[in-house]
Amino acid sequence: MSVSWKKGLATVASIGMVGVLLAGCGTNSTSTSNGSSPSTGSNSSSSKPIEGGSITVDSTQAVPDLDPAIAFDTTSAEVDESVYETLITYDKNTYTITPDLATSWDVSPDGKTYTFHLRQGVEFSNGDPMDASDFVYEFQRLLDKNMQPKPSPGSQFFMDIEGAQAFYDGKAKTISGVSAPDKNTLVIKLVKPEQFFLKVLAMPFASAVDPAFVKQVGNAAMDTTKAMGTGPFEVQTNNQNETVLVKNPHYWKKDSYGQQLPYLDKVTINVNNNSTVDALHWEQGQTAFMSPWLIGGDGIPTAQFPTIMNSPKYKNMVLKQDQNSIYYIGLNMKPVLNGKPNPLSNVKVRQAMEYAFDDSQFVKINNGAVLGLNQPLPSTMEGYVKNLDPSATYSLNISKAKQLLKEAGYSNGLTVDMWDENNDGAKKEDQAFQAMMKQIGINVVLHEVTWKDFLTKAMSGTAQVYQSGWVQDFPDASDFLDTLFNSDQIAAGNNMNNYSNPQVDQWLNQAEYSTDAAQRDKLYAQVINKVMSDAAWIPTIQNIGYYCVQSWVHGFYTSPVTYDPFGSIWVDPGHNS
């Protein structure tokens, strides 16, 4: 979803980045910390869950937005998924779409009309009944560019709905493509078929909200202190010190034993800025788990990572999950940049930089807690190319790099400007990159600025070299490739290195609206090979999320797409916190 920087930075988990975890396609790639035991994906127990009790978890960030139409960051999503529900969701730790507030759905043969049959008897936590008109209302909120306190940052995901653009532009009072023929049926019509549309609908944006409640409290309160959803919990308190969730007495879901969900009476998310202290809280048993979405993007803070990972005591308490977030060094391809000719517009210069890059150093800098990356898709994403074309493959080769620079006419070296955010993690990587480039005579001048300034600079397309990242909005290759390499994304600020290739644009546009999965994979493979042979980016690393879960916490699982499962957690008696 968004441009992201990583690790230990408040901004990561605050603005413009909703991260979603990801495991292998349809498989469970979660494993215990030593990586040797078969993956369970959960901290489960075969005994019957026990109702009651409460847990506390630490978060380095307060929840900025409660309103699902507005929330667009990991911390907010963590809460929203427990308070609100969407038509469909993902089955635990897989990519499989499962019913949520819709029990079933039909798709027309042309792939453009979706008819959802809603679950009956569902109530909001205030007892108001949920029906199809609640979704119609939420779509109107999502597409209202004048909504206060601010418009939904997710409106762009829904622009392929019929009539969405007209409604957004103020030319229509309703969205023609969203209708509720009866209380239990919701029909959504698209302008063009989108193979990934269900994944878009599974994002928390399109949650059921109670129109009467929103009108009563107003959007601002709805976003800050008052929430009203159909999910397992309701918000009792939300401020910058803590968020307290309590059991929704009207929740519809029961477990396989027929017990009413959720099991927990209360969840307290305690805002504690200091991630080192968060880890000590966990080690003392004060908190139920540490999760990458709450503890500054890492799960286990860097300082305690070696201790926790190497301790036999914690061996069975650590879970890990490959994430759909990637990092890269962008190489700006604009021929003239900031009024000067840009040497990076020469493909040979960019390729030389690829050959001089050693991703193992980046892995080392990150405590070995990340994976190397060779393409602009994480290895767990459908569409990932296992065997790249030789022309799209680079391995460390200094003499080849020097040769390429010579061929490009820079045998005496050159100087480039690199932009990044000013934080410790970035600094270490930037300096390593600087040293790598020095070996082939490229002098990298670092400009480390605030996140805001970095984003402004990079999104304006004027940063010559920059380090950035991308976290999925929804698990589909289009969310990475179309957003980051389509030339129509240059103006939007997503395609920050000004990559423009008509052939690639054509492949991307074709794949975007193709309903043939095999054809999409083929097209995306072509895109990846082309982009890599053009050396548009130097892909650096892919994140792994680490979780520490107390042995007295049960029902916890890491998910490829969704956040921490408060709704399914239960605790041993006597572990209230």
Partner: protein, 306 residues
């Protein structure tokens, strides 16, 4: 005296206006676009523009400033970009904890600094003076976030006597106060020691000794009393600075005060909150300086404001 006070208040207001202009320029006139940050990367240019208009960011900078100051005079510090609640409401709940923490730190500084100052002055140039003064130098040099974390790990985790951070009463206050006390006490120690040594050479001290007064009486009655004047001055200014300067302590100990609010706001790029906290903290510093200046006249009869 009255004219002096009025003049000083006038100066203080000018200083505050100056601070507001500088802070405003630094925060609002930077080339970054807050609207783009708020809207997120997927937002259309129209959405970004709409936010810009809603926030008044499309206006010339001087107009934005006047508007801000106009609202400020009506007690309105704006609305948080991130939490959409008024900055005033966010700040109001944080002032109490910060005052509590600042007071705790201040008392701890005095409790450590003053006795050690007296002790080293009395034993000047002896080994114990050299050792304590050297330790004081180490104390000044220790970063509070480092010392705080060490104390948390030792006394909150390894030997769990105190809570692992968090806002609360005396129990929660002790570790942060000790942390600040250790790093801040050295200033009092050095100040008191040097002024006491100064005073010890005065004629009236020699006279007191000549009269046969006990050493204890000489030190506490004659030397300390006179040597405390600059210390009181410094302590007055220090409490103002402390109210404004506990950001690192609050962050280290997760103390939900103004400093933490400012820290979080900086991380969130929440400009109205940063602006609000900067202004309020500036007010603390300026007001306490003003109070110290005025108090001079009462504390030291040699000072006149004619």
């Amino acid at each position: 005296m009255g004219a002096y006070i009025i003049r000083r208040i006038g100066q203080a207001i000018i200083v505050l206006i100056g601070i507001s202009i500088i802070a405003f320029l630094l925060l609002y006139a930077v080339p970054a676009d807050p609207a783009r940050i708020i809207a997120g990367p997927h937002a259309t240019p129209q959405t970004v523009q709409q936010i810009r208009i809603d926030l008044g960011l499309n206006l010339p900078i001087w107009e934005q400033y006047l508007k801000y100051m106009g609202n400020l005079l009506q007690g309105n510090l704006g609305t948080s970009y991130i939490f959409h609640t008024s900055v005033m409401s966010q700040i109001s709940g944080r002032m109490g904890p910060t005052a509590e923490l600042a007071l705790g730190c201040w008392i701890m500084e005095l409790l450590i600094g003053i006795p050690l100052g007296i002790y080293t002055a009395r034993h000047a140039n002896k080994v114990r003076d050299v050792v304590i003064s050297a330790l004081a130098l180490v104390g000044i040099s220790l970063p509070v976030y480092w010392l705080g974390l060490i104390l948390l790990i030792v006394f909150g985790f390894k030997i769990p006597i105190f809570p692992l951070g968090g806002t609360g009463g005396i129990y929660h206050l002790i570790l942060p106060a000790i942390t600040y006390g250790i790093t801040g006490a050295a200033y009092y120690l050095r100040l008191l020691k040097s002024t006491m040594l100064d005073v010890m050479n005065q004629d009236y001290v020699r006279t007191a000794r000549a009269k046969g007064a006990s050493e204890r009486r000489v030190i506490y009655r004659h030397v300390l009393r006179n040597a405390l004047i600059p210390v009181i001055t410094f302590a007055g200014i220090d409490i103002g600075t402390l109210l404004a300067g506990v950001v690192l302590i609050e962050e280290t100990f997760n103390w939900n005060g103004m400093g933490m609010l400012a820290y979080q706001a900086i991380g969130n790029q929440d400009i109205p909150v940063i602006m609000g906290t900067v202004l309020l903290l500036a007010v603390f510093v300026v007001v306490f300086n003003l109070l110290v200046d005025i108090a001079y006249g009462f504390v030291d009869p040699r000072i006149r404001y004619d």
